[in-house]
Symmetry: C2
């Protein structure tokens, strides 16, 4: 028993990436993780490329230098869309983004070649999902929709009420009118809304969640690179840039994560 | 013509404080202003006291040291509620917050002594408005309500649609049930929602907007301290921590401000 026992870094603008962490731990129980939530500067989805890239680099530097992570998952869709290509140029450790695995899964899923993508304003206006889809399949038709109210609705805990249904109908109607058969949830907060989204979309549209897609990709990549830790059970340490107690409370209430080790970091 | 020609600093977590700036310029056309919008870390209303205080100090230090402001207006309700008492201990220039003037106006306005306060989650849970009201009048009854979806609705531009009316009804019904006759808008974004709020509240509830309240206070205080600039027309310079173009676009579209001089600052 040993292998590469260094932790895997995972970062998000806030709490959304917890959905990715949960999926990763299911598939990689022997790994330790350092989860970095930039709660002091959340959200990224309304901010520009230069700002999001600067924040991402500060965070990855911290995870590499102070915590010696062996690999890094960018669990934030906005950072994946805006900063990932720059991060790839900088760092030598393996990096994983949430865009690529979801795109590959969506292309396998679609039958009519009409794929919808929803995300924050910055993710959608970056065109990262659209470009990644078209790069792999020049014939696919991509329909994008920014849904800026979904994140605050999730954070307010209004995941299944009448307001949320109306907002979902407002955002998704144009995509349904385009007869999409596959919808990529391009934001890690959105899995909390799956019941409402499925209710509106009906059974003919497949919903692709980027959290489970990236977790599968990381698990198979670590295995093939011989980089897995060989231990029974890893640990999770959390780093946040705002109040640690607020974060721990959200983690417990929304994803059932019991946060034992958490620290505030000032970048 | 001269007087104290140094600029007045005004800071907000983002764009909301523009409503305060507009009111200040109406009353003080001869003053120059430096508006600092912390758009790279917006919003403050979901963040804790320690984080908001640290950001506020970084910003005021910058305005005092690099821009020699003669006075400072904390145009952000969250920063006023969480950080203002610490700022008062630190700085020697006159400081103005948005809480105090709105509280004084509400106490003059109420007839039945039942006052409602709405704001972000952090502003409401700080109890700053409630405490300031009770300090001045031990008999006043205060009913508070956090309205975390109002800011994203305003930023989405959904200021008069059906979703906004439903959200307003959800948040305001408990206050109406308490028979308030005065409502303090404890967030600088909320003036954009006044039509919807008034439609729901009806004519029996007076709405107190903190932007115009603080502007009146600053104007009369500068006059009485002999600190007014004696010139015909002042200038406005904007400093932001995210994309300057996004900020200028919002300012033009929502409050009709033409932004001529704007700079990105990294704190």
């Amino acid at each position: 028993m040993s292998g590469d026992r260094r932790p895997i870094g995972i970062f998000d603008s806030g709490v959304g990436g917890l959905t990715v962490l949960v999926e990763l731990r299911k598939r990689l129980p022997g790994e330790s993780f350092i989860y970095f939530g930039d709660t002091g500067r959340v959200p990224y989805g309304i901010k520009g490329k230069e700002t999001v890239t600067r924040y991402s680099i500060e965070i990855v530097n911290h995870l590499v230098v102070s915590h010696d992570v062996k690999a890094l998952v960018v669990a934030c869709n906005t950072a994946s869309a805006l900063a990932f290509s720059d991060l790839k140029k900088i760092y030598r450790i393996p990096l994983y983004d949430v865009v690529t695995p979801a795109v590959e899964r969506a292309l396998k899923a679609t039958k009519n070649g009409r794929v919808g993508v929803i995300g924050t304003r910055s993710t959608i206006s970056s065109g990262a999902y659209r470009d990644a889809l078209r790069l792999r399949n020049g014939k696919v038709r991509v329909y994008q929709q920014a849904c800026p109210l979904f994140v605050p609705l999730v954070e307010e805990g209004w995941v299944e009420n009448e307001v949320t249904r109306m907002v979902a109908s407002e955002y998704l109607s144009p995509l349904v009118a385009q007869r999409i058969d596959t919808l990529i949830l391009g934001c890690t907060h959105y899995p909390f809304l799956i019941p409402v989204l499925k209710q509106f979309l009906g059974p003919s549209v497949q919903v692709i969640d980027s959290a489970s897609s990236v977790a599968e990709e990381v698990a198979s990549s670590l295995t093939s690179h011989g980089m897995k830790a060989k231990r029974r059970r890893g640990r999770v340490k959390y780093l946040v840039t705002d109040d640690p107690e607020r974060f721990a409370e959200f983690a417990r209430e929304r994803v059932g994560e019991v946060v034992e080790e958490i620290e505030r970091v000032s970048l």
